[in-house]
């Protein structure tokens, strides 16, 4: 919903001791504000208000569980939740309702500590209508049941919002079908396979030790039949997916890794049934159950999902659910899907324009940075066209809609077919390529074995043939990737580089070109450290300064605006003047304000650099603005330049061309004024030249290019923010580690090759038994688990070793918990 508002402080380490001058609620430094209550200091009115609410309801334990647990309310935009009273919206949001009791689930990106859990599960103490609330920390979700007779959805949401946990509600929540329950099938399969594995082992044990005598014969038969019974669910339930997938791939005429696996599974089962029923032998059921069990563990291990991240968002996740429509003098909330051309809507400060329209009233300053990449907001006059996706900065405006939401310029662009990339990973998957050769080699060896033995001994021929299929079953090969890559994506996640799945690692390996976005990727608007020094600003002054700087589009003005946070509705500015390269001045709330450079306000040189604030002729202080480019950018670029072709695509104009030229060493790779579609086409052109492209971007303006590229990486300041659809998400604070992270990802494949080396050794040993027809159940029962387990160790240890060599945090690094 609010893509650019950093509400959560969790990405900065929280200090254990409350610092002098830090907010009692959120722990952020109180910069020249004097808000006190009961000797407790607060950084803003919002934080104080939350404290008052909690104090009143005797919920101050919140502050004892974790220090400064609160969520900073600085920069929070006031939300309007009237639309939640609309029955249609409500019906789509509610998970369940019987008219009396309702249940709803919200995504609260602010959840970050034990205090959050405690407070949210004590909601009933703040609102009697809430009968139950339960937090899921990993998903950052809260499930709330409430009584319709005592409260309403809107009241619950307003309550959450008032204590700093404003739920993220967006168009995606109501337009998309409700999320299905997570597949539990794998767990079931794993449980059944593990159960069968253990018991078959137990029943096979006497056989390993050797059974003789008449009574033993009886037990041998009995154990054999029991094993068949136990193995049936393993084959038809736990392992069935492999067989189905193999059959499917054969029908499409190509071999994937599941083909040799299925051959092995079927050979194991078939041979064992024949052995047990015909000759009273022991069979290989223990190997079968063990194989399926290990394969499923591998599958489970590589399916690491980061619940708090979403890799498949589209524009709907950024759009509001409802807009305020003006009917004569009446204002009412209308769900955005029901907006019709011709209606007049009101867009307030910080809100998103949901559909294309013409400006009717008010001074529009639209921030399209997220949509087009333009760094500076555009001023628009009455009568001009406004596009959906822009964010209004400043006073409230009214516009007449010209299009429906679904037909607006940008929504249409995103619905364009080009934006829907089909995953073509399947063709590229290493495991499947290996599987193809593997199948071929196995079939060859087994055919040769068969041809050799048939003229000599028919029964050995059958034994040797099935033994080849059993032993060659690529258990080790199939496990190498899940465990190596599975562990690697965990390591990367600890370094705050989140991959969508393990296949991204494979895709990264072949990348030859990297395309950068500028705004928000190479630069970070909010990241730039801005500090205020001087006399404290009263809340009146803060409001006045904010109203003034909002009139200006200069990046420094935007930083100051952001730093000041929420000071309420902006006031009118008269006599406004902007002197390029100097500053702005104007009359606000009866005061004459000047904000600008030292020479502009005639500050003494001793005061240093920065943006100075002068009110009614008195110099109050200055803002120190930091460098906008990301930390370590030069080093990152120097490193990447030696390995990849680098390109820059910026939606912005070229006023920083010189600086970027120095960075990229080349002017031909810089492209400015690129629309989202231009970016998409640029990536396509590179791909047409045969290059594998990695796109690194941040906003919706890059969404198309991100999807089109072979690997799309999104950079975000806060992993809880909404990010466009991508293959990987990198935390902006880790940008300087990008070369190492890429290096790690790309070298991973070497580890897999190493694991394959192991697998070949195992297969040679196993096959040397098998072709002679001498594979006994005991040998199989030792060889197969041994190869599986050694693969697990090799995969996990080798990727940890590689991470250590590249100085990355390792998965068992407890000092850096993954969030």
């Amino acid at each position: 919903m609010q893509a650019s508002t950093p509400l959560v402080t969790q990405d900065q380490p929280l200090s254990a001791e409350p610092l002098e001058g830090s907010c009692y609620h959120c722990g952020e430094p109180c910069q020249n504000t004097e808000i006190f209550l009961e000797e407790k200091e607060f950084c803003c009115e919002g934080c104080k208000m939350v404290y008052e609410i909690l104090h009143e309801h005797d919920l101050c334990r919140y502050y004892q569980i974790d220090d400064n647990a609160g969520i900073s309310l600085k920069g929070r935009r006031l939300e309007h939740y009237a639309y939640l009273d609309d029955p249609e919206v409500r019906e789509k949001l509610l998970q369940y309702t019987d008219g009396e009791q309702s249940q709803v689930r919200f995504y609260l990106p602010q959840i970050h500590c034990a205090s959050c859990i405690w407070l949210l599960e004590n909601l009933y103490r703040l609102n009697e209508g809430v009968s139950r609330s339960e937090v899921n920390f990993t998903r950052k979700e809260v499930r709330i049941s409430y009584l319709e007779s005592q409260t309403s959805l809107r009241k619950v949401v307003e309550l959450l919002s008032s204590i700093g946990y404003a739920p993220a509600i967006n168009l995606g929540d109501v337009e998309k079908p409700k999320e299905k329950a997570v597949s539990k099938r794998l767990y079931f399969q794993l449980g059944v396979a593990g159960f069968a594995f253990g018991n078959i082992m137990l029943l096979s044990f006497p056989e390993y030790l050797g059974l003789k005598g008449e009574e033993d014969q009886f037990f041998q038969r009995l154990f054999g039949y029991a094993n068949i019974v136990l193995a049936i669910p393993v084959l038809f339930f736990s392992g069935w997916d492999y067989i189905r997938s193999a059959a499917l791939s054969l029908r499409h005429g190509h071999f994937n890794m599941d083909v040799p696996i299925s051959l092995g599974i079927l050979a194991l089962f078939g041979r064992s049934v024949v052995d047990i029923l015909m000759s009273g032998g022991a069979g290989f059921m223990d190997s079968l159950a063990g194989l399926v069990f290990f394969l499923l563990i591998g599958k489970w291990f590589q399916q690491k999902t980061f619940y708090h991240l979403a890799f498949d968002r589209d524009y709907r996740s950024y759009f509001p659910i409802a807009a305020l429509v003006r009917d004569g003098h009446e204002e009412r909330s209308v769900p955005v899907q029901k907006l019709e051309p011709g209606q007049t809507i009101i867009v307030r400060n910080g809100e998103l324009i949901p559909a294309d329209g013409l400006l009717l009233k008010g001074a529009a300053r639209i921030d399209y940075s997220f949509v087009t990449g333009e760094a500076e907001p555009l001023a628009k006059q009455v009568g001009e066209k406004l596009f959906a996706g822009g964010r209004q900065m400043g006073e409230r405006i009214e516009l007449t809609l010209t299009k429906k939401v679904s037909q607006s310029y940008l929504t249409q662009l995103w619905n364009d077919a080009a934006f829907h990339k089909d995953g073509d990973f399947a063709a590229k998957r290493l495991a499947d390529r290996v599987g193809r050769y593997f199948t071929f080699v196995i079939l060859l060896i087994s055919a040769v074995t068969l041809a050799y033995w048939i003229p000599r001994d028919g029964s050995i021929a059958f034994n040797a043939f099935t033994a080849v299929l059993i032993v060659a079953c690529p258990c080790a090969v199939a496990l190498a990737i899940p465990f190596t890559f599975g562990n690697s994506i965990r390591i990367l996640a600890h370094n705050r580089f989140f991959l969508k799945n393990v296949f991204v690692l494979e895709a990264l390996r072949s990348v030859q070109a990297i395309v950068f976005d500028k705004t928000g990727t190479l630069t970070g608007i909010q990241q730039a450290g801005i500090k205020y020094q001087g006399e404290p600003l009263s809340s009146q002054d803060r409001k006045a300064v904010q109203s003034l700087v909002r009139q200006s589009a200069h990046p420094a003005s935007r930083q100051i605006d952001h730093w000041l946070g929420d000071t309420g509705e902006p006031s009118d500015v008269t006599d406004f003047e902007e002197i390029t390269g100097k500053g702005v001045r104007g009359l606000v709330l009866g005061k004459r304000l000047k904000v600008g450079s030292g020479s502009f306000v005639q500050a003494p040189v001793s005061q240093g650099e920065g943006v100075f604030v002068e009110i009614d002729g008195k110099l109050l202080g200055r803002f120190e603005t930091g460098n906008q480019y990301r930390n370590g950018l030069w080093e990152v670029m120097r490193d990447l330049k030696s390995k990849f072709q680098l390109y820059l695509l910026s939606g912005d104009n070229d006023r920083e061309r010189e600086r970027l030229e120095a960075l990229f060493d080349d002017t031909k790779v810089l492209h400015f004024n690129q629309s989202p579609a231009d970016k998409l086409n640029f990536v396509k052109e590179l791909q047409a030249k045969g290059l594998k492209v990695c796109m690194i971007g941040d906003g919706l303006n890059d969404a198309g290019a991100l999807r089109q590229s072979d690997v799309g990486i999104v950079l975000t300041e806060n992993t809880n923010n909404f990010t466009p659809a991508s293959d990987a998400i990198l935390h902006a604070g880790q940008f300087d580690r990008l070369p190492d992270l890429l290096d790690f990802s790309r070298k991973n494949i070497n580890l897999v090759y190493g694991a394959y080396g192991f697998a070949v050794v195992y297969n040679i040993i196993g096959l040397s038994f098998a072709v002679q027809g001498a594979l006994s159940p005991v040998v199989a029962a030792i060889l197969m688990p041994a190869s599986s387990i050694s693969m697990v160790f090799f995969g996990v240890l080798s990727s940890n070793w590689l991470a250590g060599r590249l100085n990355l945090r390792r998965w068992n690094d407890k000092n850096h918990p993954i969030v």
């Binding site: 309801h57 005797d58 334990r61 569980i65 034990a114 859990i117 405690w118 599960e121 004590n122 009933y124 103490r125 009697e128 009968s131 139950r132 609330s133 339960e134 937090v135 899921n136 920390f137 990993t138 998903r139 997570v182 539990k184 767990y187 079931f188 449980g191 059944v192 159960f195 253990g198 018991n199 137990l202 029943l203 009574e215 037990f219 009995l222 029991a226």
Partner: protein, 60 residues
């Protein structure tokens, strides 16, 4: 020796019991959130005047 039959039967039944317990645990969603319960259990209810006024509302 025939007693082994009985023992095997019992061992299988016990194992089956655990399998059923596991499947039930998965079904009831115990593996969906592996973190929150570990925190929740450490947050005890402190005596509080307001809480005592609302005996009907029990903490989850």
């Amino acid at each position: 020796m025939k007693i082994i039959l009985l023992l095997i039967l019992i061992s299988l039944l016990v194992a089956l019991g655990f399998l059923v317990a596991f499947l039930w645990a998965v079904r009831s969603g115990q593996y969906e959130d592996e973190y929150t319960p570990s925190v929740r259990i450490l947050l005890d209810d402190e005596p509080s005047s307001i809480q005592n006024d609302n005996p009907t509302n029990s903490k989850k």
